[in-house]
């Protein structure tokens, strides 16, 4: 594989992959904190 194809493939898929994976992770963390809220906020909702 020539250097240009290699570099562009790695840059586009690598950067895109990193961004999408972290976006997915952020979403899952939001869900995680919603289903596992702090104890005092559970009490507030009771």
């Amino acid at each position: 594989m020539d250097n240009t194809t290699f570099g562009l493939t790695l840059a586009i898929v690598g950067m895109g992959g990193t961004l999408l994976t972290l976006a997915l992770m952020a979403l899952l963390l939001r869900v995680l904190t919603a289903i596992l809220p702090p104890e005092d906020s559970k009490e507030e909702t009771k």
Binding site: L10, G14, M25, L32
Partner: protein, 388 residues
Amino acid sequence: MTTALWGALMALTEGARYLAEHGGPNIIMVAIACVMFYLAIAKGVEPLLLLPIAFGCLLVNLPLSEMMSPEGTLRTLYNMGIANELFPLLIFVGIGSMTDFTPLLANPKLLLFGAAGQVGIFLTLLLALALGFSQSEAVSVAAIGACDGPTVIYVSNLFAERDQIPKAMVGALAVAAYSYMALVPVIQPPIMRLLTTRKEREVKMPSPKGKVSKAALIAFPIVVVVITGIIAPKGLPLMGMIMLGNFIKVSGVVPRLASAAENEIANVSTLFLGLAIGGTMAGPQFLTRETLMVFGLGFVAITTDTVGGVLLGKVWYWLSGGKVNPLVGAAGISAFPMAARIVQVEGQRWNKHNFLLMHAMAANTGGQIGSVMAAAIMLSILKGLGIL
């Protein structure tokens, strides 16, 4: 008798003769080791790593040193923990144990800054290829953009052990990575000021909620490891170890292990890793045009990381109607907690009532995860392309 005496004297002067005849590169490297000693001791520049690296460099550059010969002490350390990537991974256990991800969990969207802070990796990769580095060398140099010493050593050593890059390059990359990480307080502020307007820098962000349940903190490392394992399994050793350290700490049931990870494991691994990396810095192999280029490209990597983070911050500022301070984006790199502190100081410089620290800490821990994730994804792609 005279012959024996003459032979003994000659043996004792062999080192001095070697220095006089072929020792130019070694003398330069000893001078470089002394500069590193000065920076570590007098200026406090990453002393934990720089001190053992410099000492390893000194030991291996003394005339006729056998420290890196097949049975040498530094070679043994190198084989024990660098050749098989063990030491960087053990350091990650310590880093994971020392890191508090609560600010990130309180505001998970700031994790995206951790992605923008990795732009430097990929731009440096393209630049290194354009400058004539081989594909493996370019990936190794680009890893400096992760702003994360153990990641740089881990990635570059994968290639060094396959003879795809020179072993001496691992030393150059490690020194460049740690040097630039130490220079983050000098490099970042001018870029932050250059790319933002006064109005943007003065934006006051409300305090984050801050409270996160223990259950969420315990589930966090498991979620991160599972996602990494599914998407980028080649990087699982990196992410797995950092999350293992964090899991040990947040579980709260093994304080002795958490303490060992933070102290003994991290300290011993750091010492051995530093010495072994210093051992790769033998003058004749280290002093090359490529080493100088590595330092130049490392600067580009760290600079463009900051640019990427701040530019995402500006986009976020615009999308949020001016509620997000773009300076926070500069913390999306892995230099923890240095980058977060810089954002706090810069923010207060322009608005004394501004407290950006918690937001910056979230972005900064996001940068730690982002750098490891970027490396993991890059390694998985390289495996897919048949390069690893």
